[in-house]
Amino acid sequence: MPEHPYIPNSVQNIKKEMLDEIGVKSVEELFASVPQEIRIKKKLEIPHTTSEYEVRKKIEELLSKNVTSKEMLTFLGGGCWPHYIPAVCDEINSRSEFVTAYAGDAYSDLGRYQALFEFQSMIADLVSMDVVSFPTYDWGSASGDAIRMAILSTGRNEILVPQTISPERLSVIRSYCEQLANIRVVDYSPETGQLNLEDLKSKISSKTAGIYIENPTYLGFIETEGEEISEIAHNHGALFIAGVEPLSLGILTPPGEYGADIVCGEGQPLGMHMYLGGGLLGFIACHDDEQILSSSGHRFVSITKTERKGEWGFTYVLPERSMLNAREKATTITGTATVLWAITAAAYMSLLGPQGMQELAKVIMQKSNYAIKGISELKGVKTPIFNSPHFKEFIVNFEGTGKTTLEVNKALLKCGIQGGKDITKEFPELGKSALYCVTEVHSKKDIDRLVNTLEEIIG
């Protein structure tokens, strides 16, 4: 083939010179260990080498078929949310020194170690815990890992999770933990959505490794009984695990203050684009307790000193736990993680600062509550379903309109609006319902437009 721009040694003369140095006549000799019988015989159906111009043109053509949340008013959340992303975040995560690095030590990659330590520190301050681990894939894997930690550190084999959990997240938890523990679901109050403490008390036992709750829940309301749940867990020697959305912690009591032993959550709102769900970032926090730390296979970056006075260095804690060291004795499923997003989150949290986090959380809550108010006045529509405070998401029920959620969403789409996520199948007991999400990116005008359009559709 002709020389390729990404392959400096694709020049025939260079290849020949190198083969001469190696002492072989042809490149075939280097591949001699691969038996001929198992080599590729057919011509693969892969397109021919394409110019950069053409690659760009063809991919841009494909991408142009997507409709973005900036082009279409979108009210989707459910684990991936539209938030404003400061330009600084995109600038920092475009730095090629971060983008193209991988696994160097702090001598060459000091920057990523320090940024990770700062990420860990800022998440710790948000959730009010002392230890935060290396980032992981997403909330689902973070909750799976947090639950694995509870199982392994208590030596018990039962886990309690709320019925209001995201079914997709529960599926990830099952993939991570089913072989270790029996996962039992705790009921909720039909009026408030809150975890049913009576059901919890009847299910918890000396077999229970931990209770996992979410705050705000997948269905948008705030679980207000954290303290009581924590007490019930601890009375039975079980751990209390809380999954959180970090922006809400600008105004909500951090789980570290209502007794959580392990905290996990989704960092995508901290400066990541949604990327069709590809911009997720999981985090895990716990107490500075050796037994709990040892039950995790995740890396933890610790601050330390160097030989030069006044200089910060960084090192991994208990490295012998990691899969790279412990092989089958390791307790992790994570190798390559999500560090570029953690660096972005660190930049985001330092831009917002304490004041910004509080103001943003309040604006989000005000706007979503404004939307709840507007939609609740529509005939045949019920929102919120639960009599509890809501942060940025809430359920809208269309039972009284004679229309299915899918019909409502299709009609909204015709008017350039992407309605809430259809949860009719996920939560059949809640009837024809959708999970709506309103954040700081929705203006009053946007929300009014949604309410007016819904009114027209419902008739």
Binding site: F31, I59, E118, A124
Partner: protein, 517 residues
């Protein structure tokens, strides 16, 4: 006199404070969207309506900085980081190839960045088409029948494959009996760690001293009705291709087990060999290795898994499908193992791998492995001329595929300078460390560089000269190497907090507590 420690390179060294040491009370780095008066009037101060126990009493103790301070801080951190764009990175097993800029530019487009996973599929046809075509290309490149793009890293992919194996044996009613996974010690450790995390008992095969690969009889000896499957890497992390692979597949299939071959690092066999043709039932690729998606300082990565037809019904939900006119997400898969990650996986990596395959094309894929293998064997030839460097199993396997695992044992015995010292010294030259080996070190003082196809002969020659220089230092003035680094962002690190609970501090607040500040 010239300082012998100097190499002509020096990393940026800002002595940058921790972000909590910067800034000043009251400063802010962003202005939050103002709430409209009508909204405020309609809902009031919602926070006041929160039950008291759920209202945050104290603001989070985050740093307080202005925007320029934040930018300068993180730019300085980035300047103290070393990527493939910065210079030579030959970290073995990681395939640190060049990450094309056009792919990055495309992935930053709002047309892929700002779409939500639950949007009506009619509004995401473009990205679904990319995902669908990518999975078809991966099938073609691997010889597999179906791909799931969901797993988000190599270890995650191996874990998912272990779960697929479990579901398969469950469907045959044999899951209680089949609780063993066989792996080899020169496979990536996730081939042991991930199935163990999935609940399997792991049995490890060691290479035969003579041949450098596991003995066929040894495998026959442990393969049984308890075998759920074989999970191994081929080519190995030593760059040796195990030609007995077909035989292994046969042995494991005969006892009713499945075979998963880790193709994370496929840079030596792209376009040469398809693991599906060899009989593997499952495999995975790392898009952030062989397929040029960047490593992002350790993720986000992406590791799609490929399976044969018989196993496709077990793959995670959803799969991207095409009905002849529209692309859609198929959730109606009752035998699926469910989900292993949120939504569909690391979408920006899909786009980058898709763009890379287009740019390389069929011809370029073959050229990739051909040049990667030439580069590696050139490096072997030259490094073996350097004092203290040897290549275990070099006689049996003089030529290697994508990488080779050297030993610096002789240098260590002769001079006291070992792999860790060399790796600390090599960064003084503006070169990233080479990889050592995963544990356990079956090769003493392992040293594993991997020069992918995007490296130039000039860079290879420079790398070789640097290793020669360090060897010379080891034999004449070993303290230079032992005390390294000298020209990096920081000096030698005190690693004692790694194992000392009194000293370690994973967060600033803990650091302050433990140091009574």
């Amino acid at each position: 006199m010239r300082d012998k420690k100097m190499t002509g390179y020096h990393a940026a060294s800002w002595n940058e404070p921790i972000i909590y040491e910067l800034g000043n009370k009251g400063r802010r780095g962003s202005i939050i969207e103002r709430i409209e008066e009508e909204v405020e009037a309609a809902v009031g101060d919602v926070v006041e309506h929160l039950p008291d126990k759920m209202r945050r009493k104290e603001l989070p103790k985050l740093p307080e900085l202005s925007e320029p301070e934040v930018v300068r801080h993180f730019i300085r951190l980035s300047q103290q980081n070393f990527g493939t764009d910065s210079g030579i990175i030959y970290i073995g097993t990681c395939t640190m190839k060049y990450n094309p800029k056009v792919n990055e530019a495309l992935a930053r487009s709002t047309k892929i960045a700002d779409i939500h996973p639950s949007q009506d599929t009619e509004t995401i046809q473009g990205v679904l088409e990319i995902m669908y075509r990518l999975k078809k290309w991966l099938c073609e490149i691997s010889g597999m029948d179906e791909f799931s793009l969901q797993p988000r890293g190599g270890a995650h992919a191996v874990y998912t494959n272990a779960n697929v194996m479990k579901a398969y044996h469950k469907s045959k009613g044999e899951i209680d009996q089949r609780n063993e996974i066989i792996t080899t010690i020169v496979s990536h450790p996730c081939n042991a760690g991930s199935p163990a995390a999935a609940g399997f008992k792991v049995v490890t095969l060691y290479p035969d001293e003579e041949t450098g690969y596991p003995d066929i009889e040894a495998l026959k000896g442990i393969a049984s009705k308890n075998t759920a499957g074989l999970m191994m890497t081929d080519p190995y992390d030593t760059g040796v291709f195990d030609p007995n692979i077909e035989e292994y597949v046969k042995i494991v299939h005969e006892v009713g087990g499945l075979v998963a071959i880790d193709q994370a690092n496929a840079n030596g066999i792209l376009g040469i060999l398809r693991i599906g043709d060899v009989g593997a039932d499952l495999c995975h690729f790392n898009l952030h290795k062989s397929f040029s998606a960047p490593h992002g300082s350790c993720g986000p990565g992406s590791a799609p898994i490929g399976v044969k037809q018989e196993l496709s019904k077990f793959l995670p939900i959803p799969l991207v499908e095409f009905d002849g006119s529209n692309y859609y997400l198929d959730y109606d898969r009752p035998d699926s193992i469910g989900k292993v990650a949120g939504f569909f996986g690391t979408v920006p990596c899909f786009l980058k791998a898709y763009a890379w395959i287009m740019s390389m094309g069929l011809e370029g894929l073959g050229e990739t492995s051909e040049v990667a293998v030439i580069n590696n064997n050139y490096l072997i030839k030259k490094l073996l001329k350097i004092r203290g460097v040897s290549l275990p199993w070099g006689k049996q396997h003089p030529f290697r595929l994508q990488e080779a695992r050297f030993s610096l044992e002789k240098m260590k015995v002769d001079t006291g300078v070992g792999t860790d010292d060399v790796n600390r010294r090599i960064v003084d030259f503006g070169v990233q460390k080479a990889f050592t080996s995963h544990e356990p070190w079956i090769i003493p003082e392992p040293f594993t560089p991997e020069p992918p196809e995007t490296t130039s002969k000039e860079d290879l020659d420079r790398f070789i000269e640097i290793v020669r220089q360090i060897s010379r230092e080891a034999y004449t003035d070993p303290e230079i190497v032992k005390m390294a680094p000298h020209n990096c962002s920081i000096s030698k690190i005190d690693t004692s907090p790694s194992t000392d609970p009194k000293k370690w501090a994973m967060t600033w607040r803990t650091y302050l507590k433990k140091n009574k500040k």
